[in-house]
């Protein structure tokens, strides 16, 4: 009898402390998930300003210098400008993972009707899908802009009568690679992205023109 009581009391205490732990975890998560702070920012346009300065200096420098080594350097500056634009696109589209997961939990707490497994699966898929989409759009924008920039460099050189076949060959190659990367990232949606947006059509739900929908939705 004593043994049974002891076992019961241990079980009870374990159970209750487990319950407290759960509650504490939820409170802890609620407190910290919503305070997920991004890196220090000077102002909200700093990405655009610094990216634009790279593009401005890269282009002005490129089209005013006659030196091959300086042209290569300025085209690296242009590239950095577009890489940062790509990073800005990623930051804009990426999910705030902690906050999204907290919203998921809060939603579950509020509605008791939800089918638990289906509800959480959808939420997790949403996070993965948003992350995949952010990465894909970042590559899409960066690669297509870079391909455009390298072609512009070739055209600009030709207009100035400054045809450097070696440099131009490099730009043709890079423009080609970036075009392929852009095309690939346009079409290659991950299965999570496909699934999430097929269940939740967010952009133009009632559009009859599928092509338009795709072009807006990427």
């Amino acid at each position: 009898m004593k043994i049974i009581i002891l076992t019961l009391s241990i079980l009870f205490s374990l159970n209750s402390s487990f319950g407290k732990e759960k509650l504490r975890s939820y409170k802890f998560f609620k407190k910290h998930a919503l305070s997920e702070k991004p890196k220090y920012r000077y102002n909200e346009y700093e990405g655009i300003i610094s990216g634009a300065s790279a593009l401005l200096i890269g282009n002005v420098g490129y089209f005013t210098t006659d030196s091959k080594s300086m042209k290569l350097t300025y085209s690296l500056v242009q590239t950095i400008g577009f890489l940062n634009i790509g990073k800005g696109v990623y930051d804009f589209y990426r999910p705030q993972v902690y906050a999204e997961q907290y919203k998921l939990l809060r939603g579950y707490k509020k509605s008791s009707k939800a089918n638990t497994v289906e509800y959480f699966s959808h939420g997790i898929i949403k996070n993965i899908a948003l992350e995949d989409r952010a990465k894909r759009l970042s590559v899409l924008y960066t690669s297509s802009l870079l391909a455009g920039q390298y072609l512009l460099n070739i055209i600009g050189d030709k207009l100035r009568g400054d045809e450097n076949s070696q440099l131009n060959n490099i730009y043709y190659f890079l423009a080609g690679v970036n075009t392929v990367a852009a095309a690939y990232s346009y079409f290659s949606r991950s299965i999570y992205e496909e699934h999430y947006y097929s269940v939740t059509p967010v952009i133009i739900p009632s559009s009859k023109i599928i092509g338009l929908q795709a072009s807006f939705q990427f």
């Binding site: 000077y42 102002n43 700093e46 990405g47 300003i49 610094s50 990216g51 300065s53 790279a54 200096i57 890269g58 420098g61 030196s67 080594s69 300086m70 350097t73 690296l76 500056v77 950095i80 400008g81 890489l83 940062n84 990073k87």
Partner: protein, 342 residues
Amino acid sequence: MVKPNSNFITVSSQNSCSTFKGIAGSVQCNPALFPFMDLATLQFQSIGKAEGDSVDAGRKLIFDPISKEFLESLFSENSLISFNFDSNINFYTNYFLVTYSPYYLIGDVYILNPAFPEISMFLNKQSSLKMTSGYDLSEYTPFEGDIFSVGMSLFRRSREVFAGSILLTDFAQDDDGIVEFEDKSELGTDIGFFYESSSSFLSPKISLQAKNLFTLSKVNNSRLDSSSDLETFLIFEPYSQLGLGSSYLSSFGEIYVGMEFPFDGVFESIYIDYISGSINYSLNSFMGTIGISKYFKTLGLYFTSDLGSVGIIYSNENELAGKNIDHLETQNSIYIQLDIKL
């Protein structure tokens, strides 16, 4: 001037960056800034003159055998060739930074009198390994919010040096034996201190550094004072620096201002002509620096991304400054820094 273990910020600010806490690469200005640097695990970096009259000539001087024809062709247009280049591989951890520099090159050549051609040369090929660490001691400052740190570098460098004057006519007898490099290997240490006060919104800062301690390199004063010899200083021999600085953070970006006072030995005599000042502006992935000293003017632009960065430094420099010669030659050059982060 590209000193050993240089990068964008050291060259564009003319080394007046010892108080630039948290600015990329400033740990190479002052080891005491180690605790405040951004970590990049592995970084490949090169910086050197990429544009200007001296570039091709300087490279050939260091790597190719020096012949009479080459020297004659060299000075058909310019009487001064000044070339320098540095490359670094940086490995960062939370506790130390290891920098391996496979090449640090200086090629300074000056022809004194075209009618009776005597050529003064300073050539240096060097590889080095350096370990840097530092510690944040802010909790021991008397005032809350002040920042205090110390740092130290230990290095070993192997140099091949030629410093001397040769007559072009000497080449007639023996083409190869005239320029003979002397091998020098040495150990040394740099020590730095940094203090930032939180008493004002301009965050005044001060730094003290002693560089190349315990090395055997010395400046040859007779060559330094002579108007016919080239001699480098504030690079290899023991010297020290006092740095003063300030910074201002606003929503338009962050501005750092710095001044550097170089001394011979450990704060023995000041080099008045080589006091330098700089202003640095940074916003997100862009940085711009202006560096000014009596004989050098620099403007640097730096663009960074997650993968790597590019720095362009436009420079107007007078390498022969301080020499007692009739015409001072000013050169316009462009330095390029490239780095890749892994």
